[in-house]
């Protein structure tokens, strides 16, 4: 069973490295949005440091939204989604592997470039750590929630708009708690409680979302 998980992750990563534009596109979008802000509103460090957490989080959310399109779409078109649903392993387990691979390809690159962007936006060190931790906990939740939306809209020809309508309201709590945590860090307060709340959301999403994804796929593919 763990082997099946690893095989799916391996296949996803191999496929993504053969088609690099697919992984580079969302992260490129993220970097461009964040770097354009100082150009657009001026380079006053105090102002930038004030709005940086919001910019980075909104950009991360939109980049995630951009990347969901290919999460199950290619698999749906070439039939490998059908085959995955007929595999002898539980579908919830296999979709968890897909979501994990998706996070590795979209969430992890965002985490890796975040120090660079923190420098662009002149963030303090403790603010940066708060940002990093909220991204670390928040991006997997985005991947999990987005996968439910994708699974629900996969059979539709123009599912993109519907996907963002389903996805954005669900992701707003993550945005609120993350920016609250980062604000608290900016003022030197403790933000561990907010991180714990985000962590609780992550645990809930990790345990429940795979079932929702599997059930939605069974409905959408039939």
């Amino acid at each position: 069973m763990f082997n099946a998980f690893l095989q799916i992750v391996r296949k996803e990563l191999l496929g993504a490295f053969r088609q690099q534009s697919d992984i580079l596109n969302p992260i490129w979008f993220f970097v461009i949005v964040v770097t354009l802000f100082p150009l657009g509103i001026g380079t006053d460090p105090a102002l930038l440091a004030r709005i940086a957490p919001g910019i980075i989080w909104v950009a991360a959310l939109l980049a995630a939204l951009l990347s969901f399109e290919r999460l199950f779409k290619d698999d749906f078109i070439d039939g490998s989604l059908e085959q995955m649903m007929l595999a002898p392993q539980p579908l919830t387990w296999l979709v968890s592997a897909k979501v994990f691979a998706h996070w590795l390809l979209t969430g992890l690159p965002i985490l890796l470039v975040s120090p660079l962007l923190a420098v662009f936006l002149s963030l303090q060190e403790n603010t940066f750590w708060a940002l990093f931790l909220t991204l670390l906990i928040g991006t997997p939740i985005l991947s999990l929630l987005g996968s439910i939306g994708v699974a629900l809209t996969i059979g539709l020809r123009k599912g993109g708009v519907l996907l963002s309508l389903i996805m954005l309201p669900l992701s707003i709590p993550i945005l609120i708690f993350s920016t609250m945590a980062i604000d608290a860090a900016t003022f030197g307060q403790s933000y561990i409680g907010l991180l714990a709340l985000l962590g609780a959301m992550l645990v809930a999403a990790m345990t429940l979302a795979p079932f929702a994804i599997a059930a939605s796929l069974r409905v959408s593919v039939s």
Binding site: A4, Q7, K11, R18, D78, G79, E82, A87, P88, S222
Partner: protein
């Protein structure tokens, strides 16, 4: 033993077939025939549990497949219209993936199987760059290392040359002689021994029964 009980399929309020019954015993090959649009692919998607029937049940070893998917899927190989082959991966990588996901217990030599399906020398080319028939062969290669007794094949011979069709026919016969079961659709006439071979012809329902 595979049973299909009073199966009715409805698509967009249109009845495709009504009260379909058949039983397949070990060692039998069933060819489903019928004109385009009569519901062959819809029937197959019901048989593998990808869609839910309007009424009726599909049973595998006296168990409704919807209630016990895991044990059914351990025993069933389905090859659909869409091959499930990843175009950006090579033939070898695709086989490797199918092997680990579907038949991890079977020992097999990927090179030997690629030779058998006529893909030797193409193992490191991304499947997107292969011809339609070769891509189909990558998907069909799964039959050579499958230990599942039930094979459900939707148009397996699409884009396959005459020689390839003969090879697959032989494989089907071998599978049936070992006690396996095969359900397939094809528009070609098959050269199979009559004691193993059954046909099921789907027909459009009578005029009064076409709508729900």
């Amino acid at each position: 033993m595979f049973q299909c009980k009073n199966l009715t399929c409805v698509r967009e309020e249109r009845v495709l077939f009504n009260n379909l019954n058949f039983t397949l015993a070990p060692g039998e090959i069933l060819q489903v025939e019928g004109p385009n649009g009569v519901g062959k692919t819809s029937l197959f998607r019901l048989l593998v549990g990808l869609s839910t029937p309007y009424s009726g049940e599909v049973h595998w070893q006296q168990q409704n497949i919807m209630l016990d998917r895991d044990s059914y899927y351990q025993n069933m190989l389905y090859l659909g219209h869409k091959s499930g082959v990843k175009p950006e991966l090579t033939a070898l990588e695709n086989l490797h993936y199918f092997h680990h996901l579907f038949n991890p217990k079977v020992k097999f030599d990927a090179w030997e199987i690629l030779t058998l399906v006529g893909l030797a020398g193409y193992e490191n080319v991304p499947t997107a760059q292969l011809s339609a028939g070769q891509q189909r062969r990558v998907a069909l290669a799964r039959m050579w290392f499958s230990d599942c007794p039930l094979w459900i094949l939707d148009e397996p011979f699409t884009a396959i040359d005459k020689n390839g069709v003969q090879v697959i026919e032989k494989l089907l016969i071998k599978h049936a002689e070992k006690g396996g079961m095969v359900i397939l659709t094809t528009h070609q006439d098959l050269l199979l021994p009559p004691q193993l071979y059954k046909k099921l012809t789907l027909q459009k329902p009578a005029a009064g029964e076409q709508y729900v």
